[in-house]
Each structure stands twice: as C-alpha cells, then as structure tokens.
Amino acid sequence: MTKNNIKKIISSLFAIVIPCILFGAENTAATSAKSSLDINAILTIVAIILLLPLYISSKTFLLVAVDYAKKRKERATNINKMAALALFLMISQQAFSQAIEVAAGPKSGNLFSTSTTTWILVIVIVLLSVLIIFFSFLTNSFIKNQVDEAKPANAKSNNSATETSEESWLKKIWFKMNKFKSLKEEVDIDTGHSYDGIRELDNIAPPWFVFGFIGSIIIAAAYLINYHVLKSSPLQIEEYNIELAEAAKEDAARLAIQGNKVDENSVTFLSGNDIEIGKKVFATKNCASCHGATGGSAPGGVGPNLVDAYWIHGGSIKDIFKSIKYGWPEKGMISWKDQLSAKEMAQVSSYILSLKGTTPAGAKEPQGDLYKDESISNNSDSTINDSIAPKN
C-alpha cells in the first residue's frame, strides 16, 4: 500500500517537473548569448551517452514488467500499479524525447552558446541519471518479487537465514559505501553510554562522508582562491560589463542588418498592418490602462485623451514618438524606450495618430493646446529633488 503510494507520488512528480523544465527551455529561446561552447558540447555528449543506459534500463524494465504482469494476470491485483507505471513511462518517454531535442537539437551552433543551455543540459543529465536509477530500482524490485513468489511457501520461513546471500547488488554497494557493520556485530562497538536508556554505538562515519567533507573544504578554498587570489573568474561588476559588451555587440550586429534605427527625427507615419500591430501594443503594453482602451481615456482616467486635436506635448508623429520614447516622467508618463523597440514605438505612434478625430464614448475633455503642424510645445523640467534636499 505505502510502496504503491510512494511510486504514484514519484511518478506524478516527474510528470510535473519535466514539462516545467521544457517550458523554461521555450522561454529562453530569445535570450542572449555567452560563449561557453566546450562545456555545453561536453554536456551534450554526456547526455547522449547517458541515453544508452537509459534505453537499456527502461527496456529491461518493460520486459521484466510485462513478464511479471503475465504471471500475475490471473490474480489481477496490480492493475492499478501497472497502469500508473505505464502512464508514467509514456509521459517520461515522450518528455524525454523532447528534452533530447532541446539538448541535441541545435544545428546553428547558436544554442550551444547560451549559458542557459548549460543549465538545461545539466538538468537533463541529472534527470537522465535519476531516470536510470529509478528504472534500475524498479527492475530490481520486480525481479525480487518474482524470486520471492517463486519460492515455495515453506522456504519462506527460512528467509531470514538466507537474507544476506540474496541481497541486491545495490544494497551491497550501499553497505560497502557506508562501511556498515552487520547488526550482530553491534555488541562490539557499543560505547557503553546509556542516557535515559539511549545507547550510543561507535560506528565510524561513512567514508564518503569524510572524503566528501574534505573535498568540500578543498572546493571552498579553491573557490576563494579562484575569485580573490588568482582573480581568474570575473567578479560581479566585471561579469556585468561582459554581459553589457555582448549585448552591445548584438545590437550592433542587428543594426547592421536592419539598417538605420528609427528615431524621433526619422520616424514617419506608418499605415496598414503596422497600425494593427500598434493597436495590439497599445492594448497589451499598458498604454490602455491610463489612456483608455479607445485612446479616449476614461472619465476618471489618469492620462489625457489621444483622440482630439489638443495635445500637451505636441501632436506630430515625431512629438508622439518622442513622448513615448522618453516619457514625461514627472506627469506619470514613463519612458518606454527600454520596453518597446523603436519599431514598436513607431507603430504605436502611428496607431495613436490614426485615432485622431474618432469620438469614443465617455472621452475625456481636451487638454493642452490645439495642435497645428508648426507648433512646438515647451516644458520646463523641474528638478524637485534639488529644492527639498536637506541643508547641512
């Protein structure tokens, strides 16, 4: 009962975790690059190599499980368990093949170079290893069950005597790893302590614990030396500058392909599809929350209406582009240049200009000056902070 439950929980856990990782992979498609080709290449190779044992272990498991199911068919007790396992197997195989696509998919070499890829690969490898161990465990437990069942009923009473000889290889490794002493030898390692009846044994700490601890001390020392003595890895500000330099390189490359970037001097009214895109940006990127879904602003709305001929900061395409790009922060209109691309800003500007003359219901009263083509509005930039800083 409990074993069954645990297995169900584990299988549902995997079913949840795997798509989660895949979702992450989807999202990173657009993230920027960092060259660490060799690590990722190695990790990919490891992942591919790991496929083999996984294939073998899952196949073995399936064979054993089918065999097991056949033998127990007449009893039909474990249908539940088998169904859960089969479902899990299906999910994991499917998810697994997708994960491998992510890991081994890149043809352009582009995916090889992101640091996120490194992470995904590491996760994939860990996952593969866990799956392998899981299948091995399952296979093992199925085989053990079969052995148990094969034994005649009267032999079962002798079970305890033959216990050690039938221990699985995993259990043996586990015993060796921890240098366990058998329970019978306990008497020899009793410290003689008894605190309120609690005795203490004098087992040695598991060897892997001791070496692991020493190893972690060495790693920690190496970490400190690496960053602060040899200075061979970048500290955080340096790391940031590298990141910026890479982004700048990308920007330059993109500009070289796209030609000149649109700015407030070169922007022109766009029409057709661009206005549709602009409309979408207007609705989704928070413009509508202050200026109203129709651009007319709501009666209690925060921003001015954008549909009439009156403009606070000028109504030409260039003025509007400028207002969006730099904002009028002290009035609540933030700068959008870090959140919208130049093209998107041009599209939104065009969309806004296309609203001119519409009369949506509940539009706000006109604000600002009647805009004629040549008028340019001035606005003083008051620095409030200067005037209220404390005097000392």
């Binding site: 439950n5 990173t28 329970l183 203490e200 044994l201 087992n203 972690s216 209220i388 800083a389 404390p390």
Partner: protein, 709 residues
C-alpha cells in the same frame, strides 16, 4: 552508593506542548490566509482592517511559526528530555513557570504589536525594543534554569542532545543581542544602530543563524533524544555526533552573506558566505545520517509506527533542504533563486517538513507518555502523515515551478534587445501557482487539525502523570576515566567549558566578517551626492516600514543586464549609508523600488496607485492603502527621530530638530500642490500619503543628481 529518589515534572512539558500545538495552528492559519492574499488581493480587506494587510500579516506568520510554534516545541522537548538525560528534575519550577508564561506573553505582545504596525523592519527580528528586552530577560531565565539543572545533574557526561541545546542557547543569545542594537525613538519605535550594507550584513548573519540555531540545532537535539527513544535503537555513531556538532556550529555562522549575493555587500564577504555554505553541506548531513542510520534494524517498525514515519520524513526533509541550501549559495544558482519563490519553497521544506514533522512525531510519542496511555488512533496519525506529505509537495512544487518560470520571463529579451515581459506579466503568470501553494498549505493545516483531535482524544482516554518517580546515585567527587574513552569525553563532563567553547566557535565567523565591513572604509565607498532623508521622507520611510512594504518589494538592484534594464542602474554600497534600518528585502512579489524615484517620479501616479493599485497597474496583486489618505503625519515625532538619527551619525546640522517640521510642511505643500495641479485630486498636505510619496520619489535619485552635475 546510595540511590536518591527524585521526581520528574511533567506539567511544564505538557504546557509547552499545548502552547506549541496551539500557536502552530494559529501560525499556519495565518500563513494560509497570507498565501491566499497574494493570489486574491481583495482578501487584504484594506478598507476595513488595514492591520491585516499582507505586509503586516506575513511577519506575524513567520514570527509565530518560528518563535511560537518551533520555540515552544523546543522547550517541550528540553523540559522533558533534559531532566531524564541528567537524572535530576529541572532546577526550579518557579523559573520554569516564569519562562513558560513569559514566553507566551512575548508571543501575544509580538502578534498584537506587529498587527498594529510596530516593527523594526528587519525580517524575523521585527519586534520592537521593549519586546526585545523582554525576550532577553526570559531567555536568561531559561538559561539559568537549564544550566542550574545541568550543574546539579546525576549523570556525569552530557549527551549529544544537550550539547546542541547549550550551543543553541548561547548562540541565540549572541545573535539576538547583536542584531537588536537599536536606538529607541519612543515607546515602540526604534532605529537599527547599523545602517545600509552593515545593517544588511548583521541582519543576515542573524537571519541565517536564527534558522541555524533556532530551527536546526535545537531540533537536532530533539531528534537525538526522541528518535532513538521511539525506535528503541542505539545512536548510530558517537564519533559522527562529535564531528558534525562542532563543524556544524563553527561553519554555520559564516554562511550569512549567501543571502546577499550580487548585492552591494563587499564581494570578499559574499565569497566567504558561498565558500562556507559549500563546506556546510556534509556537517549538516551528519545529523541526517546519524538519524537515519540509527533506524537500521528498525525499518520494519517504520512501516507501522506513525511516530517513526514522521521522523523519517522530517530527517529526509532536513537532508533535502540542507542540500538545497548550499546549492542556492552558488552564485549562478542564487541569481535565479534570490528574490524568487524558490527561497519560499526552500524554507517551507525546512519548516513544514523538518520542524513540522519532527514536532508532530514528538507529540504523537510524548502525549501518550504524559497521559500514561496509548495513542487514540494510529490510523488517524497515519492519515495525518499522508495528508501532511501531500501538503508539503503541493506547497513546494508550484513554488519551484513559479520561480523558474518567472526567472526565464524576467530575463527574456526580444530580438530587438528589449525586455520581453513587464513585471505585471510575470505577476499574472504566477498567480495560479500561488493558488496551488495556498491549497497545499490548507491541506497541511487540515492534517494539523486531525492531529489536534487525535491528541485531545488520547489525553481524554488517559490520566495525566503530573510527576514521575526516578532513582539514581549522586555523582561522586572522584572520577576515574575509563581507558577506552576518547578525549572529547573531557568536554562532555564540563558544561561550562562546553558553553565557552561553543561561544568561541560561533563568535569567530561573525567577527571576521563584520569587523572589516565596519572599520575598513574601502568596503563602502562614499558617494558625495548621497544626502540624508528630509524630515518628510524620513516620516514616509517609517510608514513604508510600518506597512511592511519590504515583504514584497526589494530595494537592491543586482548588476544584471535584465535587472538594470528593468529597474535602473545597479545599487551601490554608498547609497545606503543613511538607511537605518536597511530595506533591501528578500522577496520580489512586486518590482524592485531602489530607483522608484527615477523610474516613476510622478506624484499623481503614486497617489492613484496607492489608493487603487489596479488603476495604474491592471492585474496588480498589491493591496490598496486607503488608511494613508486619512491618517495625519505624526509630526510630533519628527524632533526625536531627527535627534536619534543624528546621534547615530547622520549629518543633520546641530539644532535641526527645531526646524525639521518647517521643512516637512514646506515639502508636503509642494507635493500636495503637484497633486492638486490636475484639479482632479483634493488632498490636505498633512496626510500620510504625502510623506509616502515623498519617500518613494526620493528613492535612488541621489546618484542621478551626481550624474547630471
């Protein structure tokens, strides 16, 4: 050798157990409410009960679970185990009673004062100075009682559980006193003695080690008593106990700065935090191994006995979260996990799994013993076990998921080099996970109620054993050490030496990290343009702290391209020199505010936003703050606040106290005029919202002034 007769008292363990379970249920219930508030902001009921908004409720939840639930759990175990391990009753029943009632009084004071908005603004140390003093006094009472019991013992050597209790006691005392250095401004209001980077370092030295020495080491002590008792098996390895005890308490203290990776904390301190966290992994696992290996030969019992089931999952959760902790201390992992739901998942694996399940196991074992009966229903206990486990999973998995999801969204750039998602998009995507998490918490809490029912039934079917008789010979003066004992047994029979050694061992890490950060100027390079807050901004800052804004908003921009692009220039150490206390925060449910004054300098925007957040940010889960528009600024306190700040070295001119309120009113009028300019807003300039706006508009602007000049 004549045997002496004596009696163990069971009354105090019973009292503490009842308090533990009661506060546990209360604390978890508050957690469930807070979790639902994050998904459904309407549950903040801001218009009716400003005291129950998330920013005030969350500290009550954390404090209740840590200090009331786990605290009383520790004392339950200590008052039961120590007499039995030392073969003597507790030294003083009177001190024990003072300890019990004093601690409950502190808890009530804490809950009431936090809901009323009295807070120091430092996580897990939010309680104001009078309560801090009370805690110190009660802690000393507890210490005297414990040590006097140890001194009058009839057992020569101290068992490993007691090493952990002693180390915990002395370290918590040190942490509490050092972190609570504050200068009182009035009754129930104080400023942290430390500022900015230094305050952050002290706070996370405290915060991390409160986890270590309140949630971990005393519970290891409980594990070392109750687990072998329940399993009736000898402790696996005495040597492992020695190694992991000393290495654990020595290494734990250093790891605090891993809460501040990629911040303005000097990098050598950050690296020490990471390096010591790596070394901490195996000493932490030492406890898990000793616990699990003690069960060798008793695994057949684990299948049937709910007590052992709870212990096994508790110890496994301990192993999981102490593995996760060092991983999260690695720089690149921390870049993902910091400020995210990952941290929330991590602490709840610890709190629900390790502390929760160990407490439940202990109660299922202890209550039948105290009432001289058997557990009312093993089946119900097993049900509680499965429900609890499911609750933990349903809590943790959505949080991990949400953390990764929001991380990838946070750092996604469009091919054009723009941020792909706005913060509000990310909030919207994680809301379903918040709902799932709240359901997980509710399920866990349901299990607790099942336990309460089961334990009440158990108590009713038995009869309470107020005292238990025992016999033991007194210790003889002369002691000859057996030939097979090892050097460590010398320390085990010298409790005061053990106390002093523990203090020395835990003091080293803190001293090495803090002294240079305080004394060496290069660690916090000064920035000339950074000026003290104006009186109005200072008042606004205190409102910010009162409302617990730091529970959801950080003020620390890390040097990543996606953070700088989103929030503005990364934060510098010199910007925080007048921040008593620092407000860097640890979780971003809302966006970072370190440069709020730069990115959103509009008074009107802030006015509208605080009144109804969804008006300016559709989809926001922030509660509204209508009370700020009604309450007047507490101008009467300006004088003493400025005075306290100047005492701590904030360069207000001599005698500025007297003029401060004039400046305050002038600045308030400027902001009120900005608000009135649109003709839509009517506001009087003495309302709290004006101070709040002044503070928010100031945030992060000092460094910009420098650039302009």
């Amino acid at each position: 050798m004549s045997l002496e007769k004596f009696y163990y008292d069971n009354k105090l363990p019973k009292f503490f157990a009842i308090a533990c379970i009661f506060w546990g249920a209360v604390g978890m219930l508050l957690g469930v409410i807070a979790a639902f508030q994050l998904a459904f902001p309407v549950l903040n009921f801001s218009e009716y009960f400003p005291h129950l908004a998330f920013g005030r409720l969350r500290p009550v939840h954390t404090n209740a679970v840590i200090f009331a639930f786990v605290g009383n759990g520790i004392f339950t175990g200590i008052y039961y185990a120590i007499p039995r391990l030392l073969k003597t009753p507790m030294w003083s029943n009177k001190l024990g009673n003072i300890h019990f009632w004093g601690w409950q009084f502190i808890i009530v004071c804490a809950a009431v004062s936090l809901l009323m908005g009295f807070t120091t603004g430092k996580e897990y140390a939010e309680l104001e100075w009078p309560i801090d003093i009370l805690i110190t006094l009660i802690w000393v009472v507890f210490g005297i009682n414990m040590f006097a019991t140890i001194i009058t013992r009839r057992e020569r050597h101290l068992y490993v559980a007691i090493w952990f209790f002693i180390a915990s006691w002395v370290t918590v005392a040190m942490l509490h006193i050092v972190n609570s250095f504050e200068i009182p401004v009035s009754f129930m209001k104080s400023y942290s003695w430390y500022a900015g980077v230094q305050d952050a370092l002290v706070q996370w030295w405290y915060g991390h080690n409160a986890v270590a020495f309140f949630l971990t080491t005393p519970y290891l002590g409980l594990m070392y008593y109750f687990l072998p008792k329940a399993a009736n098996r000898p402790v696996y390895s005495y040597r492992l106990s020695i190694v992991h005890f000393w290495s654990l308490i020595f290494l734990y203290i250093w790891a605090g700065p891993h809460h501040l990776l990629y911040t303005a904390l000097p990098e050598w301190a950050q690296s020490l935090g990471t390096a010591f966290s790596i070394m901490l992994l195996l000493p932490s696992w030492g406890g898990m191994l000793n616990g699990l290996f003690t069960l060798r030969g008793a695994w057949d019992k684990v299948r049937e006995d709910p007590v052992l089931k709870f212990f096994v999952v508790a110890v496994t959760c301990y192993g999981m979260s102490t593995f996760e902790g060092p991983m999260m201390s690695l720089k690149n992992v921390n870049a993902i996990s910091h400020y995210s739901d990952w941290t929330v998942a991590h602490v709840h694996i610890g709190a629900l799994g390790w502390n929760g399940f160990l407490t439940f196991g202990m109660m299922y074992w202890l209550i039948p013993k105290l009432f001289n009966t058997k557990l009312y229903s093993t089946k119900l206990a097993a049900t509680h076990f499965w429900i609890g486990t499911l609750g933990i999973l349903l809590y943790a998995i959505p949080m991990y998921w949400s953390a990764f999801r929001s991380y990838f969204m946070m750092k996604a750039f469009t091919p054009e080099g723009q941020l792909q998602y706005q913060f509000i998009d990310i909030v919207q995507t994680v809301i379903p996970f918040y709902v799932m998490r709240a359901i997980g918490g509710t399920i866990f809490l349901t299990g607790v109620f099942i336990m309460i029912y089961n334990l009440i039934k158990t108590a009713k079917q038995g009869s309470f054993l107020a005292t238990e008789e025992a016999e033991a010979p007194a210790l003889e003066k002369e002691y000859k050490e057996p030939s097979n004992s090892i050097w460590h047994s010398f320390i085990e029979r010298k409790p005061i030496l053990l106390l002093v050694l523990s203090l020395v061992v835990v003091a080293i890490g803190g001293i090495i990290e803090m002294v240079p950060t305080f004394l060496v100027k290069e660690n916090i390079p000064t920035i000339a343009s950074v000026k003290p807050y104006t009186p109005l901004e200072l008042q606004g800052r205190d409102i910010y702290i009162r409302e617990g804004c730091y529970n959801c908003h950080s003020q620390m921009i890390r040097p990543f391209r996606y953070e700088v692009k989103r929030y503005g220039e990364y934060s510098k150490a010199g910007e925080f020199v007048y921040d008593h206390p620092f407000q860097w925060g640890s979780k971003r449910t809302g966006p970072d505010l370190a440069r709020e004054g730069v990115s959103q300098p509009s008074s009107v925007w802030h006015f509208n936003h605080m009144l109804e957040p969804t008006l300016t940010s559709p989809g926001s889960v922030m509660p509204s703050y209508p009370s700020l528009y009604e309450n007047d600024i507490d101008v009467g306190s300006t004088n003493s606040k400025i005075h306290a700040m100047r005492k701590m070295g904030v360069p207000y001119p001599e005698g500025y106290e007297a003029e401060a309120n004039n400046d305050l009113l002038k600045q308030a009028e400027v902001i009120a005029n900005e608000l009135r300019a649109g003709k839509r807003i009517k506001i009087v300039s003495n309302k709290e919202i004006i101070a709040m706006i002044a503070y928010l508009k100031r945030l992060g602007t000092d460094i910009n002034l420098e650039k302009k000049q």
